[in-house]
């Protein structure tokens, strides 16, 4: 069809607005309440245009075009109407642009400039509101609010929280949170989506107040350093300091959405605690030293230990916070220079069973689908053991949106987590009974004949064994094991089977058990049984924790595989890497995180090199970890802060944060994304890759890379799944592996038509109870997890002013029933004791946790939950059972 705008005939399609077409054709129509990421609201009347045949002027942002429509965008009538609307808005807006933080980035200021309005012609009453700045993140100055309602739409459409709304009417109209509360007292979770869309200075980031204005900032697009979702944002830099994070709508994963950590948790980068020079411990005290001295010291020690005790006296922890290139180099250093496969990293503590389990079932140990297809094409979800909205917030908001639009949600979690509130059904299994629950669901699906026969027939093997095993898991029996009512199990099974495709999402609630490997196999069994594999909106989707835990695994920071999951035990692989790295390699697989600690205690591991990990807070049974690290002959820690672990080191090397380096991270959906370097290294700190290269060269194995790019080129040569990846190819969109060659576009969904291993493999598995269950002496189950405001061991978020302020200390959650039995009051300090240690911590009496179960976060070095947790390991994946141990709780 054709329309005419300002005398120009334009070919166009239906369903578009006048504004859509004008923008496409380069015709300027000013806007104010309109925002491209939000549905139009048409309240500001700035985009008015004249449409022939219409009695009144129409808003271009929402008025849809029709064939032969004639539109005028710049007649005197239109311009006058816009000017009056603008003048009315300005009449109730303070003209304090000279001191306003948002000047230069204010859409009202731009319009006033465009229309030449210096001050309003309407002199009348203006409203004065108190400024809401009680919370640590957002300053809300309603005096500057122009009632465009973008914040309301962002809270509704993007964040799906609907905290913000409008109260009163006419001149008294104002934007409110909940019942007109301060943000601090409302249900706001401080994602700051509203700040991102506010066109004026009504909503501004507190941390950036007075830190500079738009024209002073250098903007660098990069990847968030927190979780595995892999959101991108723009770091705003002034004078080598990060002053603000802003959204960038080009970002493939998150668009303009971010969570509270991503948007407001960046100030750790410029924190005074940053390590600025290498440190050597002499007589129990750290002394500052030069790089040369520190590296020589390490080299001498390493060579001495290698010669006297052999290569297997070394153990190395790589880092899921560091880049792909750095992980590649550290495993290369470990294997080629130290001569051992003893390298591991924190994936052992979160998703080791994902790798072992999904490789067994499908042949590839990664999230099978992409965030986009899960969010938009799934008809149902099973979220099991994932506190999605707190731990992967931006995936959480997408699922909230899908559920609002009609997708069916089943949540299985022992705790009343946030997302369970919108579930059709919440299965509250007892911690550690996931296999029983999943077998129960499959029992119903098979019994009611709801399984996908064609898929099972054509694409899988082992069904008969599975059928026999799950036949024992009648809902009534499962109810006894799991505590979930049989009727709920039946209903959940029916929801999942009758709404295809259904996507299964899991996280550490599935993996952190001695049955972690079996749990993952069960998840795979269920999705194959339902025929939900290899299709959009389906899949088995482990949400990875760290920003680059996927990449650290991919690049071989694991004791049993080279980069690209190529087994070290295979002679072919050994030969390949020996030839490429030009050095003899050990074909014996190395040992894992927890085993390293045990071997250190026994005296078999003499030296450890730890890059960007903090086992003194993150590992189970921390008292034991301390003993192990103290029994080492030599400990090198490379980090950005003097962590609890670094305090025990002999040498500490200062590394740089994400903002100071180049390289790539791989997010949970296998998307390799390029970082942008925003500032220069702080003090004498250096990027991890440079430190490793210098150390290796000094050890007699030269690593000479002119840039990080060259490391990726080397990775691509030896890592088939990264074969086609290079920095040049990675624009803002990134590439999802497997990407075998330069022409390959990447892979959004795994196992389409064929599993990586050929046929999908059903593994018939039985319930395996947790290692340590409650008894008379320790009558409660302790389970651990996280909160939205903190990241792991708090080295970063604890040094972010806002995040630390809003959630400054640890809690133990206890059900009111148990609390009243023990006479424990909300907020009271109590003692929690396990067989391994005790902590004192504040009690939070809440229905969130079920009777008999206590919950603690593991973020805090003080009142550390991991003093209590158990080192019981899953036999196959060697993950410790963080999620279940027996404790008692007592008053002090």
């Amino acid at each position: 069809m054709n329309i005419i705008i300002d005398g120009r005939s334009i070919r166009t399609e239906e369903q578009l607005t006048i504004l859509d077409i004008a923008e496409r054709e380069g015709i300027h129509i000013p806007t104010l309440c309109y925002h491209p990421a939000l549905p139009p609201q048409s309240v500001c009347r700035i985009c008015l245009v004249e449409v022939e045949g219409e009695k009144v002027l129409q808003p271009a942002c929402s008025f849809k075009v029709r064939d032969k429509m004639v539109i005028h965008t710049d007649t005197p009538k239109v311009l006058e109407a816009r000017r009056v609307s603008l003048d009315l808005i300005i009449s109730n807006h303070p003209l304090d642009c000279m001191t306003c933080d948002i000047a230069g980035n204010c859409e009202l200021q731009d319009l006033a400039y465009e229309f030449g309005i210096k001050e309003s012609e309407f002199k009348g009453r203006s409203i004065e509101y108190p400024i809401d700045d009680t919370n640590p993140f957002i300053i809300r100055d309603l005096n500057k609010c122009i009632l465009c309602r973008r914040c309301i739409r962002a809270c509704d459409e993007i964040q799906n929280r609907r905290v913000l709304g409008v109260t009163n009417r006419g001149f008294e109209t104002k934007i409110i949170a909940d019942f007109d509360l301060l943000l601090q007292d409302s249900t706001c979770e401080f994602c700051g989506q509203c700040v991102a869309v506010c066109p004026v200075g009504a909503l501004t980031p507190k941390i950036s107040t007075g830190m500079g204005r738009e024209w002073e900032f250098k903007k660098i697009n990069t990847v968030c350093p927190y979780c595995g979702v892999g959101c991108r944002f723009d770091l705003n830099v002034k004078d080598e300091k990060i002053v603000k994070v802003t959204s960038n709508s080009e970002n493939p994963v998150n668009g303009i959405a971010l969570c509270v950590k991503g948007r407001f948790g960046f100030d750790f980068v410029n924190h005074p605690d940053r390590l600025k020079t290498p440190l050597i411990k002499r007589n129990g005290k750290f002394e500052e030293t030069s790089w040369d001295e520190a590296l020589d010291y390490i080299v001498n020690k390493f060579i001495e230990i290698k010669e006297s005790k052999g290569s297997d006296a070394f153990a190395v922890l790589s880092s899921a916070k560091c880049t792909n290139e750095e992980n590649y180099l550290l495993q290369k250093f470990t294997r080629a220079v130290l001569g051992t496969n003893n390298i591991d990293h924190c994936a052992r503590l979160c998703h080791a069973p994902t790798v072992t389990g999904l490789v067994t079932a499908f042949g590839s140990g990664a999230m099978t689908n992409s965030i986009e297809d899960i969010a938009t094409e799934a008809k149902a979800y099973l979220i099991i053991g994932s506190n999605t909205t707190e731990q992967h917030p931006v995936i959480g908001i997408k699922i909230r949106k899908a559920v609002r639009e009609g997708a069916k949600l089943v949540v299985a979690d022992p705790r009343e987590i946030d997302i369970a509130k919108i579930a059709m059904i919440h299965l509250k299994q007892k911690p550690g009974t996931d296999v029983a629950l999943l077998n129960g669901l499959m029992n119903v699906i098979i019994k009611e004949d709801l399984w996908d026969k064609e898929f099972v027939e054509k694409r899988t093997e082992g069904f008969e064994e599975l059928k026999e095993t799950v036949s024992k898991y009648e809902p009534k029996i499962v109810e006894e094991t799991t505590g979930v009512p049989a009727d709920d199990i039946i209903r959940a099974a029916e929801i999942l089977a009758n709404n295809k495709p259904a996507s299964l999402i899991y996280s550490m609630g599935i993996t952190q058990h001695i049955s972690g490997h079996l749990n993952v196999l069960s998840c795979a069994n269920l999705q194959m049984l339902l025929g939900n594999m290899g299709i959009p909106g389906g899949g088995v989707n482990p949400l990875r924790g760290q920003n680059n835990v996927q990449g650290a695994c991919d690049l071989g920071a694991l004791p049993n595989v080279y980069p690209g999951y190529q087994s070290v035990a295979s002679e072919g692989n050994q030969n390949k890497f020996e030839e490429f790295w030009k050095v003899k390699l050990d074909k014996k697989p190395g040992i894992t995180v927890v085993e390293m600690m045990d071997e250190a205690e026994k005296g078999n591991i003499k030296a450890m090199y730890i890059m960007g990990e903090n086992p003194m807070v993150s590992d189970p049974d921390v008292n034991h970890v301390r003993k192990c690290l103290q029994s080492l002959e030599f400990l090198v820690v490379q980090d950005i802060f003097l962590s609890e672990t670094a305090k025990l080191a002999d040498v500490v090397l200062p590394a740089v944060s994400f903002a100071e380096k180049e390289g790539t991270y791989t997010n949970t959906e296998r998307r390799v994304q390029l970082l942008g370097k925003a500032i220069n290294p702080i003090g004498d700190s250096k990027p991890d890759w440079q430190i490793i290269c210098e150390l290796s060269t000094k050890m007699g194995y030269p690593m000479n890379y002119n840039s990080v790019k060259e490391i990726m080129d080397e990775i691509a040569k030896v890592t088939p799944i990264y074969g086609g990846i290079s920095h040049e190819r990675l624009n803002t969109n990134g590439i999802q592996w497997p990407c075998p060659d330069k022409e390959h576009p990447g892979t959004t969904i795994l196992h389409v038509e064929k599993f990586s291993r050929g046929l999908g493999h059903f593994s018939a598995v039985d319930h395996l109870p947790p290692k340590e269950l409650p008894d008379d002496e320790f009558p409660y189950i302790l389970t651990t997890g996280r909160v939205i405001y903190h990241w792991h061991t708090r080295e970063m978020t604890g040094r972010s002013k806002g995040l630390d302020k809003i959630y400054p200390e640890s809690f133990v959650e206890i059900n009111p029933e148990d609390a009243s039995k023990l006479n424990i009051k909300d907020g009271e300090i109590v003692r929690v004791i396990s067989r391994r240690g005790k902590v004192e911590v504040k009690a939070e009496v809440t229905e969130r946790t079920q009777p008999g179960v206590l919950f603690m976060t593991f973020h805090f070095a003080k009142s550390n939950a991991n003093i209590l947790t158990i080192r019981a390991l899953d036999k196959v994946s060697k993950i410790p059972e963080f999620k279940v141990c027996a404790v008692k709780i007592e008053k002090i």
Binding site: R162, G165, V166, T167, I176, A177, D178, F179, S186, T187
Partner: protein, 150 residues
Amino acid sequence: MEIEKIYKIIDDMVDNNEGLIPILQKLQDELGYLPINVLKVISEKMHLPYQQVFGVTTFYSQFRLEPQGKNLIQLCDGTACHVRGSKKNIRATEKRLGIKRGETTEDMKFTFEVVYCLGSCALSPTAMINKKIVPKLTPSKILKIIDELS
């Protein structure tokens, strides 16, 4: 009223697919006003965001968030009443009661409001006192009524 009775009213009406406004009206009839904790219960039972329920409640002048005095005096200041001298009546009322428009006396005897048109312009200036229209109001007339009600 006990909270259980409030729950029951809300539950019954929600089950009956009644809209938000009738529910607010019914509860205000029962309670005399709409306390925030009642709005919270309504939000949760109806699965509506807090701000939406609060927004509707504050949009319509018929709903009140504060308890109302024993007597409700509503003086009209719509166009017709305004030109026929309603301002004098308003000033006299405020002075006698010692409160401003929208407020309630400390002894909870009077709530005073200014409204815009009671639909009885021919009788202006008018008032509505305890739901009854009072025509052709003068300051002495309104003060007399207040005295009688005191």
